[in-house]
């Protein structure tokens, strides 16, 4: 991804890019669901959507279904899009809350076209009129990340990125500046460069093993520290959404691709053994397993600096947050985008690194808080893990957000970050955090008018869904289905 992103933008500007990777080192092989921002990344590279989807066996994604998070038996979908529409510049959910408090209860999901479409297994691209229901939503993909990496590697190599097969085992550091001057491969090759992007995974060969940057451990907030992953056959039509099901010691993902389903159990080994986690995962697969369970170990957190000296850590070398909201690829692409905006000259300015770190710190912090929200916005106390979260002292930033929401349905806003107000509404309302009050301006309209407006939005959404083809059919119609699957 980094090679592709950099080569696309820097091609022809006298910057030589060398990609060093080893077939010996497996990739994590998961992280297959994405966020809508990936479309902008792909577009900026000039990647054809259909071609990309065929190559990566991708399905469309309208959101994530969360099961058993608020209470056992609950489910809701966090969609890529708003609920309803503002009325008189007042957020829609206040009107919904008003009716709810007055005894007219309805699902907030009923006012979201992407949710209704996902529930019906339907999909089509949004139309050109973004004000229209059925066109005012975002979408992302669910794909084979290994194939995506391969796709991008070919892309990068076509743009004169030199690929070197090899495993970096050491690096030389300038005694005076502390900068890395070269890396040494296992076969003895030495590769010099001015700037190094460390995508070596959790090890952080350069950023940590060589520069000793340090790691901020966030396991206090997000204690899950292991995952077991397995792929299985698809049963039934492929669905346009990811599923995250809360378990007693973690949660389980289900990501439907064109040709198979990716599954995994993210868990806290304090409360479940590796064997038991693998057993639970395998016993809940809907189709025949296609792979043996793959064990993964991680510590949630981030490097103290993602850009240190002349090394920039992108991907797992920079930090890790569990993929509950499909943020892994997004954070990589944010890192690439920020690097391109702050790309150094021959001289690396401290100010560039400082600004890069400021932006990425903000990204990571805000994703962390949003992920933590899922665990604490719950009524579950049926296991040790859930009781841990219920007794947790929250970061002040998150505590204040929860208080504001519970008091009056108020959303504390920020501008820079991937999860904006509609996402917070989705999780908090979806997990049964019902505010005690709402914006009183929602009382300015008569109850009849409000009901009528909401009914109209629901009807329009339902009608739009009825006119939408099934996801499986659309994949074929659109030309995104891989040839052997079309």
């Amino acid at each position: 991804m980094t090679a592709a992103g950099l080569s696309n933008k820097l091609n022809g500007l006298g910057v030589r890019i060398q990609l060093v990777e080893s077939d010996q080192i497996g990739t994590i092989g998961v992280g297959e669901a994405t966020l809508p921002h990936i479309r902008y990344f792909n577009n900026s590279l000039g990647i054809d959507e259909r071609e990309f989807m065929r190559a990566t066996r991708a399905t469309f994604k309208l959101g994530i279904e969360f099961c058993d998070w608020g209470q056992l038996g609950d489910s809701y979908i966090h969609p890529f899009g708003d609920y309803g529409e503002p009325i008189n510049d007042i957020d829609f959910h206040h009107f919904w809350l008003r009716l709810w408090h007055n005894g007219h209860k309805s699902r907030l999901d009923d006012y979201s076209y992407p949710v209704l479409a996902a529930e019906s297994g339907k999909f089509q691209l949004p139309g050109p009129d973004v004000m229209k229901i059925g066109s005012n939503f975002g979408y992302a993909y669910q794909f084979d990340s290994g194939r995506y990496a391969q796709f991008l590697r070919q892309y990068a190599e076509a743009l004169d990125v030199t690929r070197t097969e090899g495993k970096a085992v050491d690096a030389a550091v300038d005694a005076e500046t502390g900068y890395i001057t070269s890396i040494n491969l296992e076969d003895g090759t030495e590769i010099e460069a001015d700037l190094f992007i460390d995508c070596s995974g959790f090890r952080g060969v350069l950023i940590e093993q060589k520069l000793g940057t340090g790691y901020e451990d966030w396991s206090e907030w997000l204690p899950c520290n292991r995952a077991v992953a397995a792929q299985c056959e698809t049963v039934g039509p492929s669905l346009p959404y990811t599923r995250a099901t809360a378990r007693e010691a973690g949660w389980q993902w289900r990501i439907p691709l064109q040709h198979r389903v990716g599954n995994g159990y993210v868990y806290w080994n304090e409360y479940i053994s590796d064997d038991e986690a693998a057993h639970q995962l395998l016993s809940t697969l809907e189709g025949e397993p296609l792979t043996d369970p793959k064990q993964l170990y991680f510590k949630t957190g981030k490097r103290r600096k993602l850009w240190n000296k002349n090394v920039i850590a992108i991907g797992l070398s920079g930090g890790f947050l569990e993929p509950l909201e499909s943020t892994s690829i997004h954070l990589i692409q944010e890192g690439i985008t920020a690097l391109l905006e702050l790309f150094p000259d021959k001289t690396i300015h401290t100010s560039d690194a400082d600004e890069y770190n400021r932006r990425m710190d903000l990204n990571f912090d805000r994703v962390r808080d949003f992920l933590l929200l899922h665990y604490v916005a719950t009524q579950r106390d049926d296991s040790e893990m859930w009781r841990y979260f219920r007794n947790m002292t929250l970061p002040e930033s998150l505590q204040e957000k929860l208080e504001a929401w519970m008091h009056r349905g108020y959303l504390m806003r920020y501008e820079h970050g991937v999860f904006l107000p509609p996402s917070w509404v989705a999780v908090m309302a979806g997990q049964n955090l019902m505010p005690k009050a709402y914006d009183m301006r929602a009382n300015a309209l008569s109850e009849e008018k409000v009901k009528s407006r909401l009914d109209s939005i629901h009807r329009e959404s339902v009608t739009a869904v009825q006119q939408t083809p099934s996801h499986a059919d659309y994949l074929t119609q659109y030309g995104a289905a891989a040839d052997e699957l079309a």
Binding site: S351, R358, Q379, E403, Y410, Y414, N432, A437
Partner: protein
């Protein structure tokens, strides 16, 4: 879905108790200067029925209204519309004219001149922001590297022409944004006209005493033996803090300024932007209204004021308090903050304060959440505006005058430092959450103050020079041709007023 009870354990006790208490029913606003009247008008339109608003017209609340300046930001159009005041209501009934921004002249030791125009975001080519292309061409095509050439509002401001921007994005005029030239006293009068009936009641009285317990205001004793009680109090009495509890607010006051204003009648509108000229004692701004020019002078109190207009002088301390909302009372307007009217920031932030209050009008007597959030966003807004204003004084050649010394004595915030460093280093525009000034404002300020990037985003080099030069020349030409076709501000205003009269 059921209201959860299990999360109650993590919520503060006072919050939990609030659920049983009655909702807000009565609001008292003290002070009927511009801030108080604007607040009353906005609240009366925004809030649902059942909430009474009492506006107390106290002596002297409008004393420092001069420090709101004479220019508004583009957001004022919607702000007023939400109150029920459209341009057909505003323009015929006041001296208000259109504003494309401010032309700064003779600023600082280098006597800089530039225009801060209201404008849509600058274009992005090939994923690279516009300012990088200007830096790229600075040495080879310096005549194409002037930012002002690409800002349609500046073209129009320099020619004194105006028309409402169309929606069609293909027309250069569509990139223009506009505010107003306004007089606080006139707007106060117009806004007062909108609050002559329920739910706002207006009384003229002075506050004799405040009835309060340790934290909350319970009532006010007014002149004429009137006692008023309310659930929520808004202090718009100005910097003299008629509500004693407000005096306890810590306020960071950097310096004091003195203001004076005068008018000279004009037969036609003399321009479409304010002209602000740096002087040895501070600055003087000339604002063109419909039938007069207004001159506002701002100076340091230690300046020789005999050189300034003989008009009455008003002084104010520039700064803002740290917690404008305490318990059940809020300080608003100059009770909470006073900014130098160097830009449209004073009125811009007052409108943001009022909009924020409306969004956070308490739903119960427990206002912990509203208070905390209002204060947080207030502080951010004023720190951002402060940083923008401070940016006017960050120059290699300051003037060695009392005014400049006092302005530069203020520390440079880390955010401003980062913005300047990044822009000067590589043309990057650092933005923080929800700033009142956008990238186009900062770009104009940086370049106006002579802060040019030393390098630029090399991806800008991927656009072939010939194509880039052609594109930029076309843009300049389009802006110039557009400006030539526009009527003068005066002509446009006269036709517009005639149209409004016909429609009325």
């Amino acid at each position: 879905m059921l209201t959860t009870s299990r999360n109650m354990a993590r919520l503060p006790m006072s919050w939990r108790n609030s659920m049983q208490q009655a909702p807000l029913k009565k609001i008292v606003i003290c002070g009927a200067g511009l801030a108080g009247v604007m607040c009353a008008a906005a609240l009366s339109r925004a809030l649902p029925a059942g909430i009474d608003i009492l506006l107390i017209d106290t002596e002297g609340a409008d004393k420092t209204d001069i420090f709101f300046g004479t220019v508004t930001p583009p957001s004022s159009y919607k702000f007023l519309l939400d109150i029920g005041i459209g341009e057909p209501d505003l323009l015929p009934l006041s001296n208000t004219s259109f504003s494309l921004g401010t032309q700064y002249k003779n600023w600082g030791g280098e006597a800089r001149s530039w225009t801060q125009s209201y404008h849509q975001p600058l274009p992005v080519f090939n994923g690279v922001e516009f300012q990088h292309y200007l830096t790229r061409l600075q040495s080879t095509f310096p005549h194409l590297a002037k930012l002002e050439s690409y800002i349609m509002s500046t073209h129009a401001a320099q020619r004194g022409v105006f028309a409402h921007p169309p929606e069609d994005r293909k027309i250069p005029l569509s990139t223009v944004e506009y505010g107003y030239h306004f007089l606080p006293s006139e707007w106060r009068k117009i806004l007062s006209g909108h609050i002559t009936s329920a739910p706002v009641k207006l009384i003229k009285a002075d506050i004799e005493s405040v009835q309060h317990d340790r934290h909350n205001i319970r009532g006010l004793k007014l002149s004429g033996d009137i006692v008023v009680e309310a659930d929520f109090f808004i202090d718009c009495t100005g910097p003299d803090y008629f509500i004693p509890l407000s005096r306890q607010l810590h306020r960071s006051e950097a310096r004091k300024l003195v203001a004076a204003a005068s008018f000279s009648p004009q037969e036609s509108i003399s321009g479409v932007s304010r002209t602000l000229t740096g002087t040895e004692y501070g600055w003087t701004a000339r604002t063109p209204f419909q039938n007069s020019d207004h001159t506002l002078t701002i100076c340091d109190p230690s300046s020789d004021q005999s050189k300034i207009s003989p008009a009455e002088l008003t002084s104010a301390a520039i700064g803002f308090c740290d917690q404008p909302w305490r318990n059940n009372y809020l300080t608003l307007g100059h009770s909470a903050a006073c900014l130098e009217p160097l830009t449209a920031a004073p009125i811009h932030l007052l409108q943001r304060d009022i909009a924020r209050l409306i969004e956070l009008i308490p739903v119960t007597p427990n206002m912990t959440v509203e208070r905390r959030e209002y204060n947080r966003r207030f502080k951010e807004d004023y720190e951002h505006a402060d940083a923008f204003h401070r940016g006017f004084f960050e120059t290699a050649e300051p003037l060695g005058t009392a005014y400049w010394d006092a302005a530069r004595a203020e520390p440079v915030s880390s955010k401003l430092e980062n913005k300047i460093t990044q822009f000067q280093s590589r043309g990057t525009l650092v933005q923080y959450d929800l700033e009142p000034f956008g990238k186009e404002d900062w770009t104009q300020l940086h370049m106006g103050m002579g802060r040019f990037p030393q390098r630029y985003d090399k991806i800008a080099d991927k656009v072939p020079e010939r194509s880039l030069v052609q594109t930029l020349q076309n843009r300049i030409r389009a802006n110039e041709e557009m400006a030539l076709r526009l009527p003068s501000h005066y002509q446009y205003m006269m036709k517009l007023l005639a149209y409004f009269r016909k429609q009325a």
